[in-house]
Symmetry: C2
Amino acid sequence: MLDDTSQKIVDAAMALIRDKGYVATTTKEIARLAGVNECTLFRKFENKKDIVLQGVNQAKWRANVTPDIFGSVTWDLQTDLEMFMRSYMDRMTPDFVNLSIGLRAPQLYEDTKDFIMKVPQAFLSEFKQYLEAMYEKGKIVQGDFEALAMAFFSATFGYVFLKASFNDELTKVDKESYIANNVELFIKRLVC
Amino acid sequence: MLDDTSQKIVDAAMALIRDKGYVATTTKEIARLAGVNECTLFRKFENKKDIVLQGVNQAKWRANVTPDIFGSVTWDLQTDLEMFMRSYMDRMTPDFVNLSIGLRAPQLYEDTKDFIMKVPQAFLSEFKQYLEAMYEKGKIVQGDFEALAMAFFSATFGYVFLKASFNDELTKVDKESYIANNVELFIKRLVC
DNA sequence: TTTGTATGCGTGTACTTGCTTGCATACAAT
DNA sequence: ATTGTATGCAAGCAAGTACACGCATACAAA
């Protein structure tokens, strides 16, 4: 656990990285936003990169997209598919999308890539397991569940990313009708 | 048209931005990579930002995703859907994905956002028109074509982006089987 | 032969970068 | 009363930043 001052520094750093990216975020500005003197950063942390590494390891700075989404399934296809997509969309807010783009600096990416990849990886494998279980139960037909999981996740992620990037300027299709249309798509494929 | 020297400068700048982002790209390094003296940049261009603005306006530094993809339709649903998705995937290479992320700097984004948005916008509206035309021809059933276009594009974009970001570490699902599964998804929805 | 144009080279400027140091002060634990 | 800990403040450092200037050289057009 970090003390208050350190936490304020981490929070300031992450917020700035989300807004302008890692390289453009200066230690001076982190200090100003945290309300501490610049030298305090270097008393609490080894260097600028260290601050960020602490940040990405905090739940607070992670979209709360955890496998527990897949723990509360009802085994009703429509209900579950809607819930999966809605859960991801509600938790992966534009702020988190922008943060993970802000973390894409060559100086950091080696250290943050695996972390950033965890969420999609978990979603994909849990979703694939769900499809396999549904098949075992005889509720859906056979298919390439790996590819279908990728299709479902890409559709979810793509929408979230595009909305975060272009807001409503790209499309006026709202979340709920997007979900409804997508779920219908997969149901038609999985039960016909 | 730019002279050879200016073009080399633009090319160097865009390549560096693709690899490390706008802020991390220095004029010194642009000059080095272009094989010219640093002061030549400022004789040819007003400033660093000006170099990039020239770049984004060149076809060379745009993914060649143009509406002409939608000009060569066969009006066979499967053939066309596969062609749309494959065309986007083939042209929107990881290099272009990374470039458009590298261009996401607050100092530039106001000037480049509209440009970056053009490709998705064109794809979406052309695809929606295609669906409407297919409906007129009685080849597909009714639906929310705006939402379905967004679903199709998000699925396409999501895959391209995720592959560019994580390569094969996230999924081993290859392009062709991804396309096949997605197209099947939409066909089931559009002809049932 | 003269002139203009394009470039390299070296140096420089004003400023910012991440990071450090020395010293003072407040406060809490002992 | 003493000691330790956390912080602020002012100054500074070496390196890097975008960008500028003066001068030399090559080459081509006039």
